[in-house]
Symmetry: C2
């Protein structure tokens, strides 16, 4: 049964007191059946991971991913498929990094990788004493006297008491994001950062650092096992040194693209509901969970509606943003064009927390009244699919710039289970094999359901 | 801060309008902090999986697991630790099974394993034509004319539309449980069953079959990839044959044990709250998720209370049941002794659905009024930990027999995320490496929280 016949049935039944909620629950059941029985996002993700692979902004693979994504949306027969031009940074890692701990005559190699946007060390690397710190504030206390000429080692672990791992990441992340710049201010010669994860293993986790206005110094992440080892050695011997060699380079900006597919609204084509993730990935693996799953779910949402013959009232857009990882240029461009083209945006949903079992959504800056009402009306619909968590909270990096240019838009973050994401995030382990087909598909069904409900009822809670 | 000081603080505050819910939320926060920061279940599970390993009922490893578990609980200083004697079946797989598809002159080996409790084939195996069926009912239609002398191939896949994978397992499971007995009735010479999983891979999934009063015939599970392959070949050529050789044997029953640890109730020591899982596992791997995680969580619940210096009102029992996989003798013995010893049981909670992120609990035969009230009072407490799903539903095989002998008990199933369990369930892939530390610990915290709430407030909803 396609959606038209469902709708006819329900429309007839409506005269005998079928509520909106019943119509909605019938439609959601069909959305999930389509996602779970005929789903395409898993095989699409396989292609993206295995036939294209890593796709850092500015790379040849990023361009391949753009071309393939555009063709995918065209082949699905979306009403409009187009590219948005955007200049992106082109950082390259260069030859594999090297690093080891020097404890007297013993050199112990450690698992490490340069942070994204890091500068290179001199050709023969950097060797220096190590000062371990647990916060940026501690740098101010140490000052130049304690830091100058040293390698600063940020080693504050995740706080395990947080239930959502994203919160632990958020509260530890300043070490990687702002740590190198802050250490540079006091004359550090390099920075090494404990990988941002709860897992105790030997994967280094890359990720962008932002020097701000400070002089760039080489910066790398070391695995949590290596971080513990270094910390233990420093307790016994303060003169332990570290050797770091990396070969990063910042090349000129490159022309790249956001990839956009649309189903045109039948009633209010000028009002837009966006669902998106980012097409670029880090260079160490396949960008499976970060964020291959997100872009493939975004396309899947529109595919599901086409398969069910559902004609949306508003224009639905799947957006594959470029350059989330090290610049957010795609997100900024999308927001700039939205304002320039005087677009009306009802809602934007980002899926960039991995393709894990859905738990619900977070609504950015939602008022208590909004939360109370949306939960009263929609929570039980999502609880049928075990995704009934509708809370206030952040949305996503790509859609974030819309909050400046289209202030009326509701920004929404898709919230999957968070426990495993930061075990593989930004590591060589972010590969297709770590994605579960059903978890990915349940996420697509959950996002499509929210898009459907917004399309039918709006968000005036 | 230990629990006594928390309680004192809260007790003082109570005079100024602190509600039960606030006391409870403070205590739950401390339970989770203990589980996540000082948790021991992950390292205990490592020992059980790596130093003992597979522990099928009647095996030497099962006895090792009993001895180690008893010592673990004694070392934790539980008030009472003891064994319950129980005779268990002793089925052994024997030498590795063999199986292949015979299509003309082509022999294609397939991934397979005997079902638990299967009998052996003759020494030179069984070779026969194959009849593919999708239900037990279909056997009645085919009758002896269609079945006699053949190998029956049950090939109904999981229904992907179910959200909980346990439901898909439940509705496909008759093929493995009752299929071989039913096929034997019509003269089949052997049975092969599509592995009970959504995953398309090459792992065969074992699991018990129950012949009932029918003559036992050899029965094996084949991987889903092999099942699809065989089905495709049968479409082209009905004379395709299958060769099966297995070497199973049923030995005499063996004396084994449930392992029980208790914290004695300070107010009502004769009223018991049980939390348990099963210590035995299948023989193909380490029984990590099935059910090493469950027993380690059960002991962890009591350990957490001791660590927090929480003195329960009622007697809390951690029970490591023996023989869930192929006989349920431990569960039956526990229920028999409960009746014999005239024990009062308030609630029994089973954790046997894997060590995945907690979603909530199912309450067996809970009335609508019970569900309404328990959700009104406790759901929000659990939602803080993303485990607020409190629904009607099944509990567990081990605690199930209590419903006959202690009818007043509330039977409760711990419900973790179900999406990955049946990818590894009963396969060589059920190993420690597939358990996530935080997911396991969050489960322990969730179960301990429910035990605490029942201990404080009972279940009179």
């Amino acid at each position: 049964m396609n959606f038209k016949s469902i709708f006819t049935t329900v429309a007839l039944a409506a005269t005998t007191l079928v509520s909106n909620a019943q119509t909605d629950s019938v439609m959601m059941r069909h959305i999930f059946d389509e996602a779970l029985v005929n789903g395409k996002c898993y095989e699409n993700l396989h292609y993206l991971c295995k036939n294209i692979g890593q796709r850092l902004s500015g790379s040849a693979n990023a361009q391949k991913a753009v071309d393939w994504s555009k063709k995918l949306m065209q082949d699905y027969g979306f009403d409009r498929v187009y590219l948005q031009e955007v200049m992106v940074p082109h950082w390259v890692r260069g030859a594999k990094e090297q690093g080891y701990i020097i404890d007297g005559k013993t050199k112990t190699p450690v698992a490490l990788c340069a942070l994204g946007m890091s500068v290179a060390t001199p050709a023969n690397g950097v060797t220096a004493n190590v000062i371990e710190v647990h916060s940026l504030k501690q740098l101010d206390t140490l000052g130049e006297a304690g830091i100058k000429g040293k390698i600063v080692f940020f080693n504050r672990p995740f706080d395990e008491r947080f239930i959502e791992q994203g919160t632990a990441y958020g509260t530890a992340g300043d070490q990687r994001n702002a740590g190198p710049g802050a250490a540079s201010k006091y004359g550090a010669v390099a920075v090494i950062v404990r990988s941002l994860t709860s897992a105790l293993d030997n994967y280094p986790h890359t990720g962008a650092t932002n020097y701000g206005k400070n002089k760039p110094i080489p910066a790398a992440a070391i695995s949590t096992i290596a971080a513990n080892q270094l910390s233990e050695l420093l307790k016994k011997n303060k003169s332990v040194q570290f050797y770091l060699k990396d070969n990063c380079e910042m090349l000129p900006d490159v022309l790249s693209y956001n990839v956009v597919g649309e189903l045109t609204g039948s009633v209010n084509p000028n009002q837009i509901i966006t669902v998106g993730g980012h097409l670029d990935s880090w260079d160490l693996a396949e960008g499976a969970h970060d964020d291959g799953t997100g872009v493939m779910q975004s396309a899947e949402v529109l595919r599901i509606f086409k398969a069910l013959d559902y004609r949306p009232k508003h224009t639905l857009r799947a957006v594959f943003f470029m350059n989330e990882e090290n610049g957010d240029r795609g997100g900024l461009k999308y927001a700039e064009l939205a304002a320039k083209n005087k677009e009306e945006h009802i809602a934007a949903i980002e899926t960039d927390e991995g393709g894990f079992t859905p738990r619900g959504f977070s609504f950015e800056k939602a008022s208590p009244a909004f939360l109370k009402n949306i939960n009263a009306q929609w929570k039980s619909l999502f609880e049928t699919y075990e995704a009934g968590r509708l809370v206030e909270g952040g949305s996503g990096t790509d859609i974030g710039p819309l909050r400046e240019t289209v202030p009326s838009v509701m920004l929404i973050g898709f919230r999957p289970d968070s426990q495993r994401y930061f075990n593989i995030h930004h590591t060589p382990n972010d590969v297709f094999e770590n994605v579960n087909k059903r978890e990915l598909e349940l996420g697509a069904g959950t996002i499509a359901s929210l898009v459907y409900l917004i399309d039918q009822h709006g968000l005036n809670f």
